[in-house]
């Protein structure tokens, strides 16, 4: 049985919820008096229900690891140094997309504690970035432009982030994923060539329990340690900031104040 010729496509759009209210009202008025079209609608809805029931496979964990390994090989080579900044965004996005698998695993472990999850994800990403540090000298010049591009694209309050100074040089910016959201990762090198990352992501719904914060000058961030790496988390401008650095607590607190206040 086929619907009235003019209505078949509109019925398909109705099932997808893509008719505007006026068109929908007109069509529903017609459906009330047309058994053929009503039957067409029922058949389309039934098909959609069946399609919804199809199993949604997830990529096996070992496949994710294999892809990540294979992607890591060309990234470690010097030729990527010649990439233009925008292309680096693409390459970075691809590599970081592969880290999502690891992030999903972490999420299941830390589902009840977004701060712990964000800290672990940031350190995992930092480890991955550390492997690519031979790329950074070639990216330094384009980092501010990349940051603006990322901030605009994802609406992140990242352009006001610490721009670097003589002690802490901003060498690269990458898109990332944390707590299921797109983030901007600012990558710095300190005077001793240690990698420091600052990840900025939308954080309005992330609550920081007061009892977990520590007083550092007038601010109260959360200080954590994940796999010998120091992590500082704090809210600023509606965004969650996650700073990672291989420093002790005292150095970490000093670094936090610098990044938070832009005071060198």
């Amino acid at each position: 049985m086929s619907a009235c010729a003019d209505n078949s496509f509109r019925i398909a759009l109705l099932v997808r919820g893509e008719l505007d209210s006026a068109e929908e009202a007109l069509l529903r008025a017609h459906l009330a008096g047309c058994a053929t079209c009503a039957s067409e609608l029922a058949a389309e809805e039934e098909l959609s229900r069946k399609l919804e029931k199809l199993p949604r496979l997830m990529a096996p964990a070992d496949l994710k690891a294999q892809v990540q390994d294979r992607m890591g090989v060309p990234l470690a080579r010097g030729r990527v140094l010649r990439m233009a900044p925008r292309r680096l965004v693409v390459a970075g996005t691809i590599v970081l997309a592969l880290v999502i698998g690891a992030a999903v695993t972490l999420r299941s472990r830390f589902a009840a504690d977004p701060l712990a999850l964000a800290a672990h994800q940031a350190v995992a990403e930092r480890r991955s970035l550390d492997l690519q540090r031979d790329l950074f000298p070639g990216e330094t010049a384009g980092a501010p432009a990349l940051l603006r591009e990322l901030a605009q694209r994802y609406g992140l309050p990242a352009t006001t982030a610490f721009p670097g100074d003589a002690e802490l040089r901003l060498v690269s910016v990458r898109p990332g994923t944390a707590l299921g959201k797109v983030s901007a990762i600012l990558i710095y090198l300190d005077k001793e060539a240690r990698l420091v990352t600052l990840e900025i992501l939308p954080g309005n719904e992330v609550q920081i329990p007061p009892k977990r914060t520590r007083q550092v000058q007038q601010f109260r961030p959360v200080l954590a340690r994940v796999e010998q790496c120091g992590v500082v988390l704090w809210k600023q401008g509606g965004a969650l900031h996650v700073l990672t650095a291989p420093l002790d607590d005292q150095e970490l607190a000093r670094l936090f104040v610098k990044v938070r206040t832009h005071r060198s």
């Binding site: 098909l47 399609l51 199809l54 693409v90």
Partner: protein, 173 residues
């Protein structure tokens, strides 16, 4: 993103090892071809577009001719060699198991031409936006919509054909 790419691969090639190869090739090719990605475009659509093109290449490499059917923008993959296939088509046992797992709707979807199957997967199973599906299929949005419309019609027809078979199987149980 990798999950979506893998799912599309599994619908294009039923054997898991082939799907894995396809996904790995896709990501490596994406890295090589990164200059073709437009900033601001959908990354997943770009990846699936690469995957689909690799699938066509794979068909050709394995001796499966890609035939255009039902007009210029529709194609099916057909086995063209008479020998037992070394590749991913013609594996009757695998096809039977796949059908059992996916049920009638899966069987019907598998029977569609590749373009129709992909548009249904992207738009109605993965719920992608029109423009993303258009980027994967490399056609205008209007073509995606009309193709989806025809694909759904074909699916319903196939499902109605399967219904009597299912009923007779039920009676035999």
């Amino acid at each position: 993103m990798l999950d979506g790419t893998y799912r599309l691969a599994r619908w294009l090639v039923p054997r898991d090892s082939d799907a894995r190869d396809l996904v790995q090739e896709t990501y490596l090719h994406a890295l090589e071809a990164r200059k073709t990605f437009r900033p601001g475009a959908s990354m997943r659509a770009w990846l699936c577009s690469i995957l689909r093109n690799r699938f066509v290449d794979l068909c050709r490499r394995r001796g499966h001719e890609v035939l255009w059917a039902d007009g210029a923008d529709e194609f099916r993959t057909l086995e063209t060699t008479g020998d037992a296939p070394a590749g991913f088509f013609g594996d009757a046992e695998l096809a039977r198991l796949t059908t059992l797992v996916r049920g009638d709707i899966g069987r019907a979807l598998q029977a569609l031409p590749e373009n129709h199957r992909t548009v249904v997967l992207l738009c109605d199973v993965e719920h992608w936006r029109w423009e993303e599906a258009a980027a994967v299929l490399e056609v205008p949005i209007g073509t995606v919509q009309s193709r989806l419309f025809r694909a759904r019609r074909a699916l319903r027809r196939l499902l109605s054909e399967y219904a009597p078979e299912e009923a007779s199987i039920e009676r035999m149980r």
